[in-house]
């Protein structure tokens, strides 16, 4: 079985498990939408403030709850399953790529639904032609956050309090993704170029992908 076949098989099963367990869509997403609701309630009837704050609140809630999505697999990853994959000949790098693929799909779905909820609750003003660049920025942010969460899960595998430790790793390293994603939206509203921010997102995604693949084997061995 090729590297990509293994990665796709792992992603496929991860998504099947998510469909049955529903951590992301049934638990994390409703809480994120409730968090979105809190801000308009706190701001009262100041509709212009609500409209202006919409994109910022979306990114804040999206990244905070997105980290939970990204770290979800790390919490579920049991040593027995890692051993099984090793003895089936799964390349640790293929496992990283597969988990990043499935996580990215879930993260993108999560962010798209959250964005729709933001439009309903905040009615942010965006220029015409916004969907393409915004969806691209969401996709790149989703991929980066998931790679980061998967990598943090590998770094903390086998450690006690791994979920808390993984969060500590993800939070500071997610800053380029937060800046890239939020500034893409901001540049659209100001009618300035979004290219630098998309390039920042792409560079971050690539750097995390290279790190995840290159470190997969040593991290797996170190976790035992």
């Amino acid at each position: 079985m090729t590297f990509w076949d293994q990665a796709v098989e792992i992603a496929r099963v991860d998504l099947r498990v998510e469909r049955r367990v529903g951590d992301v869509l049934r638990i994390i997403l409703p809480f994120a939408v409730i968090a979105l609701l809190v801000f308009p309630l706190a701001l009262g009837v100041d509709l212009s403030a609500i409209t202006q704050l919409g994109p910022a609140v979306f990114w804040a809630i999206g990244v905070l709850f997105g980290m939970q999505v990204a770290l979800r697999q790390a919490a579920d990853d049991r040593p027995e399953r890692r051993d099984l994959y090793s003895l089936l000949g799964v390349d640790p790098a293929a496992r990283f790529v597969g988990r990043s693929m499935s996580g990215s799909v879930l993260m993108l779905a999560f962010m798209v639904v959250l964005l729709a909820a933001t439009f309903v609750l905040y009615s942010p003003r965006l220029p015409s032609g916004w969907p393409g660049p915004v969806i691209l920025a969401l996709l790149l942010t989703a991929v980066g956050l998931t790679e980061l969460g998967t990598l943090a899960g590998e770094v903390t595998a086998g450690l006690r309090s791994r979920t808390a430790l993984a969060s500590l790793i993800v939070a500071p390293l997610a800053i380029p993704l937060v800046i890239g994603g939020s500034q893409t939206l901001e540049s659209l509203t100001r009618d300035t170029s979004i290219l630098p921010w998309l390039l920042l997102l792409i560079a971050t995604d690539l750097a995390l992908a290279v790190a995840g693949v290159a470190l997969a084997r040593p991290l797996e061995e170190a976790s035992r």
Binding site: M1, V13, V17, E80, D83, S86, L87, G89, D91
Partner: protein, 219 residues
């Protein structure tokens, strides 16, 4: 039909294993030949499971040397031979949210095997009727049978059994026995550990004891 390979499947020379700064195994010197069934008896906490993880290449020796199926332990060579090792450990290695059939299909795909063999394997281990049960709806014995079915598909050259007979009914024990026979008939080696020397004496061609992290001859 596979030819019987000639030679040694496991070679350990003064190998030791340390976990978290504590020495668990020390001075392990051992050879296991092709088609041999080695039994290791020892009480709880004597290092049996760590010993099997060393042979499974899942733990590296901190001292001494070791080779398993021709790969030097603690080096990247182990990635080449891991697919040839089958391990039945304390805890059944299955994905909890999948059915028994899906677990086998998943493992078979990752292994690079033909998923058409899954149905035959389920039939051999007597799980055809229960194949759509999720792991959480299955008994311990069923999970063990699922593992046996996986090993029927992957056909390991080195079979490692950790208390594999505990908690199994006679039929399931016979399945494990069949796996042992099949592995040795194909020229593979089997290492089984148990706190119950009775399980080992009936099946192993040689039995050693493990005590305080050292291998000893059985008197």
């Amino acid at each position: 039909m596979r030819l019987h390979p000639v030679g040694t499947h496991i070679e350990l020379e003064d190998a030791g294993v340390s976990l978290g700064g504590q020495t668990i195994l020390r001075g392990l010197t051992l050879t296991v030949a092709a088609a041999e069934v080695l039994g290791i008896a020892g009480p709880n906490g004597s290092g049996k499971t760590t010993f099997l993880r060393l042979l499974a290449t899942l733990t590296a020796p901190y001292r001494g040397t070791g080779r398993v199926l021709g790969a030097t332990l603690g080096t990247s060579e182990v990635y080449r031979i891991r697919q040839d090792i089958g391990l039945i450990g304390h805890i059944p290695t299955v994905v909890g949210e999948l059915t028994l059939r899906e677990n086998l299909q998943h493992a078979t795909r990752l292994f690079g095997g033909d998923t058409a063999r899954v149905e035959r394997a389920l039939q051999v281990v007597g799980l055809t009727e229960a194949a759509e049960r999720k792991v959480e709806q299955s008994s311990y014995g069923m999970l063990r049978r699922t593992e046996a079915a996986r090993l029927l598909i992957t056909r390991p050259k080195l079979l490692l059994l950790d208390e594999a007979f505990s908690g199994l009914d006679i039929d399931a024990q016979e399945l494990i026995d069949a796996l042992i026979t099949r592995t040795t008939e194909n020229g593979g080696a089997v290492v089984m550990v148990s706190h119950d020397a009775g399980h080992l004496a009936d099946r192993a061609s040689r039995v050693l004891a493990i005590s305080a992290g050292r291998l000893e001859r059985v008197a």
